[in-house]
Subunit: 158 residues, 2 copies
């Protein structure tokens, strides 16, 4: 099988068809041709989608990810960029660690009200001063059909 259609790409990658169209429009992936109306993708698009997922997970925006591909379509990943992102992650991790410890303490704290717990108040000051930094929890996707499974990579093979 040379090319895969959008449904298959969606199934194999766990990425929705609508997202694939969106990515194509954004220039993140390219379809190779059509069969009737249907887009046909080179199976290599799956690697590319994995790369995109990786970038997203690392905190890159789609625009940043788009810039990681050379005009010829091959990945052109700047190592300094990776290192910088690793640093950024490091800082985030440190903050989250502090946060988690504070939350744990607050959860177990014997003080009658959190406002009377010194640890909690320290945390509060840290948050107020911006030391903890910003962070946004990602809402879960509403339909993560193939996402949670352990073996979605080669679903029903054949």
């Amino acid at each position: 099988m040379r090319d895969i259609d959008i449904a298959e790409a969606a199934r194999l990658s766990g990425v929705r068809a609508s997202t694939l169209r969106f990515y194509e429009e954004k220039g993140l992936i390219a379809s190779h041709g059509r069969r009737g109306l249907r887009r046909l993708f080179d199976p290599a698009v799956l690697d590319r989608l994995a790369l995109i997922a990786l970038g997203r997970a690392a905190g890159f925006s789609l625009d940043e990810i788009a810039r990681m591909f050379a005009p010829d379509g091959r990945p052109r990943i700047d190592r300094r960029m990776l290192a910088a992102k690793a640093e950024e992650l490091e800082r985030t991790i440190r903050k989250l660690n502090a946060m988690r410890d504070g939350l744990r303490h607050a959860a177990a704290c014997p003080a009658p009200s959190h406002m009377e717990c010194p640890t909690f108040r320290r945390l509060l000051r840290a948050a107020a001063s911006g030391a903890i930094g910003e962070r946004k929890a990602r809402r879960p996707p509403r339909k993560s059909f193939a996402a949670t499974g352990r073996e979605q990579g080669r679903a029903r093979g054949s």
Copy 2:
């Protein structure tokens, strides 16, 4: 000084006036009265704002935070909720750690192309399988005046 006006609240908390109005509309904070048109806040609003900042930093949504206040306005923080959030944070941290290590390796990897680096490919598979999970980097606020330092409480005045 009994009450503070919105400008002062903004200056002291580092939260923009527009945000304070937004929070009031959402029921997260309450103004105590007016002087002319101007809202007056009880200085305790600053604690409350710190609490809100803390919650945001921990990954709670504004709605979740709103639910952390009893109808009388005093914090009513569920310890189990804190513990659960700490757990969530823990999981996030673990993923980010893996991510960071992968990025570091990729940044230093001697393979000619990232696609030929085993570590990178392993990371890629993890991302594709959803094992790494989703995350969104928060874009920095365009003006974080009171955030980083003590001084510079000078908004864009005049």
